[in-house]
């Protein structure tokens, strides 16, 4: 940085579980180091509640789910040099975006008085409202992703985006393929890595936390699932999970939903 002023950073929360903010709070000593090198202007869970103005990097956790969320997103975009989404909710709408696939008003079936609640029918990613400079996928993101993003953006380098698939990560780590060895359906061939191939290392299939990889061959993977004995609706639900609104997963999920459902 050429300026003497410390970079100003904010963490903002919309509809979410708070798990991605823990990527900051779980940094331990590194959180204190970060706090000494940047000015943490606003981060409600950690304490600071400064005004969201004149920011170098704003991290957004959570999906746009209310009218207030929409206002927040537009306002921080105007005030931020870099806007970074953290996690599945902010990046793709998150697990709560499964409601986007339902017909009718879900809210009234949960709350007896839905008129009290500020609520949008769909849960959407931040990018549906404003331009986003960097998207950090993951459910949740981890501390390394966060620290790498801050360092890259502040030093003007292009952040090194993860391009590899979970499948490749398994091969690097010499984890036996759960689909080949055990016939367990796994989204690893079409999912970005970033988790370190966590689920296959626990003898289970990947369920897509880090969203679709580049050029995901979802149709052939779905056919493979069918070959393993999954029914169309089971295949659809594999793709319609924590990143259901990521276009590649949504399209594949819909393809298999239509064949099965007549509602």
């Amino acid at each position: 940085m050429t300026t003497s002023r410390k970079p100003r950073i904010a963490v903002v929360k919309l509809a979410s579980c708070d798990g991605c903010q823990l990527a900051f709070l779980g940094l331990g000593e590194k959180l204190l180091e970060l706090a000494s090198q940047v000015e943490i202007v606003h981060f409600a869970e950690a304490g600071p509640l400064g005004a969201l103005t004149d920011l170098d990097i704003t991290f957004i956790e959570g999906s746009v789910s209310t009218r207030e969320d929409q206002d927040t997103v537009h306002s921080v975009r105007r005030q931020s040099r870099f806007l970074v989404t953290i996690g599945a909710c902010a990046t793709s709408g998150g697990i709560q975006a499964l409601r986007n696939l339902s017909a009718g008003n879900l809210l009234s079936s949960v709350y007896p008085s839905p008129e009290y609640v500020d609520f949008l029918a769909h849960s959407t990613p931040v990018s549906s409202e404003v331009g986003v400079d960097l998207e950090l996928w993951g459910c949740p993101v981890n501390g390394t992703q966060i620290l790498t993003a801050i360092a890259s953006l502040l030093f003007g380098a292009a952040p090194a985006a993860e391009r590899d698939k979970v499948c490749l990560e398994c091969k690097r780590r010499q984890i036996p393929c759960v689909m080949v060895a055990k016939g367990i359906p796994c989204l690893g061939p079409v999912t970005l890595t970033g988790c370190g191939a966590l689920c296959p290392s626990f003898d289970r299939g990947c369920y897509g936390c880090y969203g679709p990889s580049e050029n995901p061959e979802t149709p052939s993977l779905a056919r493979r699932f069918a070959g393993l004995g999954l029914l169309p609706d089971d295949i659809a639900r594999r793709f319609l999970f924590v990143n259901s609104q990521a276009p590649a997963f949504l399209a594949e999920g819909r393809r298999w939903t239509k064949e099965d459902r007549h509602e």
């Binding site: 979410s16 798990g19 823990l22 869970e45 789910s65 709560q96 949960v110 008085s113 289970r204 089971d234």
Partner: protein, 432 residues
Amino acid sequence: MNERREIHVPILARVEGKGALDLTIRKDRLSEVRLRIFESPRLFEKILEGREFREVPDIVARICGICPAAYQLTSVSAIEAGFGLDPGPDIRRFRRILACGEWIASHSLHIHLLAAPDFLGYEDVMEWARHDPGPVRRGFHLHGLGNALLSLLGGRPVHPVGACVGGFHRFPMRPEIAALAGRIRDALPMASALVRWAAGLDYPASDRSFVSVALRTEEAYPMNEGRIVSTRGHDLTPSDFEGRIREFQVPHSTALHSLLEGDPYLVGPLARINLNWDRLPPEIMEDLRPFGLRFPSANMHHSLLARAIEIRYALAEALSLLEAPVPESPSFHSVTPRESTGIAATEAPRGILWHRYDIGEDGRIRRARIIPPTSQNQAMMESDLRVTLEREGFDRPDDSLRRLSERIVRNYDPCISCATHFLDLTVHREKG
């Protein structure tokens, strides 16, 4: 519109996250206390409908990034109860280790990052660390050990991937267990020091009667199972609990409020110790004696001390469970779904977490109901605010009232996102 309209709610949507507080003061009386939780609803009970039972643990984990394992553990117990499956002692043991990890991580986070700055007069943990880094480092270290236990069983601390209906996808490997057991053994003196540090804090006097509710078992301190008991003599199965509590919606909150037979009640670490202090190793209670502290306690500020005690307990408990041999048996049972209703209650870090699933013979969820700790505590928080603020008086600046209110609410460690400074306090002073 009737502001305190009380409505029976058959299905509950989960919230945590953003909250606010409105106080209305009229003639030195608090005419209104509104703890507003305005976290956007995410409708998990509806999302669960139609999903297969095996997907439930990974869905409900996403309700809370701070206690995802508690959601997973409660859901698998509820579903197994519905299917008539007993996981057996080995799987129970590893589930208890998972719960220990989450208690340690969640309590360490709350004590050091959220609550302690209130007691010490700092704005936040960063300021505290600049003045006195020792206790902060200790807190981070303990937090890291909690996370390491979660990672041992589930690969990562947030939304771990190890637990499943029927058991675990796999048990941890022996070398991983041995390495972590060694780190925990080394940290036991740190946990004892934490308890002594917490016992030495300056706790404001506060003594009011309230109802504590927690799980209780025949021998051990309660974590993943037990009957639901209260300081008013309740002794209920998790199934009976549903008929005794009433949830209702209020205009200012997307969290539903709960009352136990008409009264606010407390769940969480203080309630747990109040009802289970005799299940803790005697030396923990003896350590408190020089400080003039004992349980049961009617001082809500002691919830911080209760968390420190539970960290010490959970660390020692995890160590002894890790030291038992790794089972040769499979890490999970094969599961056959049947049409059923499965109910379970566990002690999440913040208190009783109750789940119910109605499942079809195809293994799909027909209906789900989840009662989390924070909605159970919400009525208590509001009544505590009312009583404590009126006792302390209003002859003080708004900022002082704001700090006191925030501190009262933080004692409950509400599982809503901005748990340090989530209060956007508005004081309305009415003339006349």
